[in-house]
């Protein structure tokens, strides 16, 4: 029962959406998920999940930066961890440019102490969490496309 255009009564269960995605949609969703944490879920219409993913990934990443300084986002210091950090997309691009600039200004050796390792761990895990979100975006879109599992309402 639809009461008005675009309005569903509150007592009715939310319907699961069955949307067909094109290849361009898949690519767009995956790129958005990489560029902005939660962006892919937002694109698929899963807005609450998108907000939760965004908050979790961003908070973890920025705690890492606060503990270990922005200079830890640099492949010159730890290439493999930078590879993990890179999955946070925009965060890593901005942080890396800033880190390179700061390395030139400060010109001191980055000390590998507890702060460094905890910072690298937090930022790296944030990137890996976003990788999980990227995979989830693509898998959900794929399942919805094939009609196996429709997208949830929220």
């Amino acid at each position: 029962m639809i009461t008005a255009v675009g309005q569903v009564p509150e007592n009715m269960p939310k319907q699961q959406t069955t949307t067909k995605f094109t290849t361009a949609d898949f690519i767009r969703a995956a790129l958005l998920a990489w560029f902005i944490p939660g962006g892919g879920h937002f694109y698929l219409g899963l807005r609450k999940r998108a907000v939760l993913l965004f908050v979790c990934v961003e908070v973890t990443f920025f705690i890492g930066l606060y503990i270990g300084t922005i200079r830890i986002v640099n492949p010159a210091h730890s290439f493999l961890w930078f590879f993990a950090q890179a999955f946070t997309g925009l965060n890593t691009i901005v942080s890396h440019l800033w880190a390179v600039r700061l390395d030139k200004v400060q010109a001191t050796v980055l000390i590998r102490n507890w702060s460094y390792y905890m910072g690298v761990l937090y930022t790296g895990v944030a990137g890996l969490m976003n990788l999980l979100a990227i995979f989830d975006t693509v898998i959900r879109a794929g399942r919805a496309n094939s009609g196996q599992v429709p997208l949830p309402a929220d």
Partner: protein, 73 residues
Amino acid sequence: MPAVLGSFFHQPLPVADYWLWLVFPICLALSLVYKTTRAARFRDIFPAALLLFATMIGGFILLTIAIWLITFL
């Protein structure tokens, strides 16, 4: 303003004395993100994440006890 925000990330935080406590926020974030990708309904995420968080911390505690027993007994 950017300079103030920038200085926020220029000096490392001395965490040598309490680094172990940092396991809690990262486990919480990890369990929330994992359950966000796995739960069928949004309202199921928080209880499931809490359970996963408790399991992770419990697992760490048990592992610590096991390593301590192996090392010192």
